[in-house]
Amino acid sequence: MLAARSIPYQPVLIKEGIHPIQLFAAGSQVRLHALKGERELCKRLESMGIQSGKTITVLRNQTHSILLKTGNTRIAFRLCNAVILYAEQIASGY
């Protein structure tokens, strides 16, 4: 289920069913499709385990920030235009 939020949606639809990760409700399981944005930040996220193809759980999705879990790693980050994570849903949230 997609979270109803007023976050500006970037019309960069890569593929049907793929959306910016902030549109998924807490508890959703998603597969990361791509990281788009500043190279430095993308590389940092990748080295922290947020990589394309990975299954990620959205633990918290608050207005300005998001908490993701991949494996045993929990990554918190502030939503910004510098990087957008595109993902497709595998399982819905709470």
Binding site: K43, E46, M48, Q51, S52, N72, T73, R74, A76
Partner: protein, 736 residues
């Protein structure tokens, strides 16, 4: 044979065979227990914490192991060796330029997949390596198992399970380390796809004879960096060898780009794919997933509705407990130095016929200075204890995450919240608490605005002036002063972010560690390291300043109050304070300088310079033994009071200022010297002025003199302008 005995130099036993010195670097992701592992191996007390980014600079410990003298280098935690962050640069520079004999790659076994990304990058650097599978106990407890043979086979390096805090596996780790160093065994770097490998080979052939290729740098690694057009490597080569390689080898580069697309991304993807494949091959998942305590706690602690109230509750407790426990101990230390020690030192020195001015200097300057430095220690110890508890439990990272959305609006990073809050108690530990911010710019902005958080020592000034002029609205006025301080801090945070530190607020990306129970050893290590640093560094500055200040207040020795250096200086600069409303007389100005040493001294100095005769309590003659006994009793009482403060009531106490039933001589003198408006202006000036000389010591220690100069300019300028504004605005509104 000589008949006379040989001098001791010749008869001393010859030293044994020299120890072989080896340098072992510990590299790994943040928060995987590198520092704890080094501490376990060497018995040192490097600071640790369950908080990513504890080690920003490299730290070192030494130990002897058999015939080896080991230098253990604690490198900052990094997720990769791409040179984008300070930690990555420190780590990479050390591995490249200082070429350690061995790298121990510390990994969190429960997070092996994430850790392997860095492992592959380390292997590319072609250094002898051993992998420490740290936090093995947590890994096993969660029901996982690991095919160690497969991991060793794939990486070509020994892997050793370890548990840092309990030293489990550390002996095996050292044994393997020595074996690898002596045999010079190196791991297996990742094999990339055909076109990339071919390009690496071609690049290696082209640069093999170039001057910037030395034996200490792996040719394959350098070739990879040049293919990636790694900006840091290119600039380093340009800087050292004056060779610009930014557009070198265009044919090779374009051919590879045509084949694989974005080269840097292709290399990165190859690594991530290899990491996933290896983790899948080696890690056996538990048959039944373990219920994760961290996730369950986070549902409450990071919840949109409950997270913030819980956080504020925890901070309130930290704040209250720190000051409730330490205040009686601070009073005891103050009494011990300025009462007991000063009294008996004076008597002892008088007995030795030492000149009176020297006795005064020793008593008020040296002993008073030492007392001032040490009186901060209880506050620091308890504050560091509670902060260490929050850090090591894993909660601090969550607090930063929770606060980021508010702080972000004011140009500050989420992690700035804790030092700013601590600043309301005391600015000194707050300066040190800013270390939690890994970005230097964020730290500088935070510390610059920290002084506007009214510290506890300023409260006596507000209490005195409000009790004289604003007795009807004391609490309201003091609240207004605190709000002025917060507003000014927000104003400067926004302005500094847009001007001097013009930059975007760094993206908040942070790994939240799992919750862990802190160990007493780790907590004590953390407290000890920080407190010791304060006493050594800030203490020196404070002690020197105390002696200088004594000279100002007392010289020429024996002169009347209005003839001292302090009085004459105050008389000279008093006209500068005319726009602030309190420059017509020199006495208020004279109290500002001692107040700069410690804000508590403003009230005391006003008493002295306004020539208020304090009632003599009547000197009771006591013996040294009686006084010593009294100090012992005072210490016990302080401990008892601290305990009662904690156990008595954790709820907030209403803010009450004891009303003066009879106006004191000082109150009368204040009423004669100030008007209500000039008193308000004086309070605003003291509110916004840098707290005290101890903060000067702390800022110098953390950022150096140049930045201290900027902060002094900022706070003095702001205090002056705001006080002048308050005064003239008040006059315009008819309060003058």
């Amino acid at each position: 044979m000589p008949s006379h005995p040989l001098p001791p130099f010749f008869t001393a036993p010859l030293p044994g065979p020299a120890l072989k010195e080896l340098v072992i670097a510990f590299a790994g992701n943040p928060n995987v227990g590198k520092t704890a592992l080094i501490n376990a191996l060497s018995g040192s007390r490097l600071k640790v914490g369950n908080w990513p980014g504890v080690t920003v600079e490299k730290k070192e410990a030494t130990m002897r192991y058999g015939d080896y003298q080991l230098r253990l280098i604690d490198l900052p935690g990094t997720y990769s060796l791409s040179p984008y962050t300070l930690e990555e640069r420190v780590c990479r520079d050390f591995l490249l330029l200082e070429k350690p004999d061995l790298v121990i790659n510390v990994v969190d076994t429960s997070n092996l997949e994430k850790s392997l990304y860095l492992t592959f990058q380390l292997l590319e650097m072609d250094v002898p390596m051993v992998m420490a599978l740290n936090m093995w106990d947590e890994f096993v407890d969660q029901g996982y198992s690991l095919d160690q043979a497969a991991l060793t086979g794939a990486l070509g390096i020994p892997v050793v399970p370890t548990v840092g805090p309990t030293k489990w596996g550390t002996e095996a780790l050292l044994t393997q380390a020595i074996v690898v160093i002596e045999s010079q065994t190196k791991g297996l770097p990742l094999s990339f796809s055909g076109p990339i490998e071919a390009a690496i080979q071609q690049m290696s052939d082209k640069i093999a004879t170039e001057p910037y290729v030395s034996e200490s740098v792996s040719l394959r690694w350098l070739a990879l960096k040049l293919l990636e057009k790694d900006p840091y490597t290119l600039s380093k080569i340009n800087e050292i060898y004056s060779v610009d390689l930014s557009n070198a080898f265009p044919a090779l580069w374009q051919a590879l780009q045509g084949s694989v697309g974005d080269i840097e991304r292709a290399l990165s993807q190859s690594r991530t794919q290899a990491v996933s494949a290896l983790a899948e091959k080696c890690v056996v998942l538990p048959a039944k997933p373990v219920r994760d305590l961290t996730d369950r706690l986070d549902r409450i602690l990071l919840n949109e509705w409950t997270g913030l109230p819980v956080f504020l509750g925890i901070l309130y407790l930290v704040f209250k407990l720190t000051f409730d426990i330490s205040t009686p101990l601070v009073d005891f230390i103050d009494g011990f130095f300025n009462g007991f020690l000063a009294k008996w030192a004076e008597l002892f020195l008088t007995g030795l016929s030492i000149p009176a001015f020297l006795i005064s200097l020793l008593k008020e300057g040296v002993i008073g200075g030492a007392g001032l430095v040490l009186s901060f220690v209880p506050i620091l110890i308890f504050l560091y204890l509670f902060l260490a508890l929050l850090e090591e439990s894993g909660y601090m990272a969550r607090a930063a995450f929770l606060m980021d959305r508010f702080m972000f609006r004011f140009g500050l990073h989420g992690k700035a919240f804790v030092p700013l809050l601590v600043g309301f108690g005391c600015n000194v530990p707050a300066v040190y608490a800013s270390r939690a911010l890994e970005n230097e710019t964020d730290r500088k902005i935070t510390v610059a605005v920290l002084s506007f958080m009214s510290c506890g020592a300023k409260l006596p000034i507000y209490a005195l002036f409000t009790s004289v002029f604003f007795v009807e609205h004391q609490a309201l006025l003091i609240l207004l002063l605190y709000l002025i301080g917060i507003s000014v801090a927000i104003f400067w945070a926004v302005v500094l972010r847009k001007t001097r530190f013009k930059s975007d607020i760094p993206a908040f990306v942070m790994e939240l560690p799992p919750y862990r129970f802190p160990t007493i050893k780790m907590l004590w290590g953390s407290i000890w390291v920080k407190t010791q640093a304060f006493i050594k560094q800030a203490g020196t500055v404070i002690a020197v300043a105390m002696i200088l200040l004594w000279s100002l207040v007392n010289l020429p020795y024996g002169a009347p109050t209005d003839q001292t250096v302090l009085a004459r200086s105050a008389q000279a600069i008093a006209p500068l304070f005319l726009p602030l409303g309190f420059g017509e007389r020199w006495e208020p100005v004279a109290a500002i300088l001692p107040g700069f040493m410690a804000k508590e001294m403003v009230v005391g100095t006003l008493g002295v310079v306004l020539s208020v005769q304090q009632p003599d309590a009547g000197a009771v003659k006591t013996t040294f033994t009686q006084d010593l006994g009294a100090q012992g009793q005072a210490f016990l009482d302080a401990g008892k009071t601290a305990f009662v403060n904690v156990s008595g009531n954790l709820l907030p106490t209403p803010f009450v200022l004891a009303p003066d039933s009879k106006e004191s001589p000082l109150s009368r003198a204040i009423r004669d010297t100030f008007t209500p408006l000039s008193a308000f202006s004086y309070m605003v000036f003291n509110l916004l002025l840098l707290s005290c000389i101890s903060v000067v010591g702390a800022v110098t220690h953390e950022f150096g003199r140049s930045y201290l100069g900027f902060i002094l300019f900022l706070t003095c300028g702001t205090a002056y302008t705001a006080a002048a504004l308050a005064y003239h605005l008040g006059r315009l509104l008819g309060f003058g």
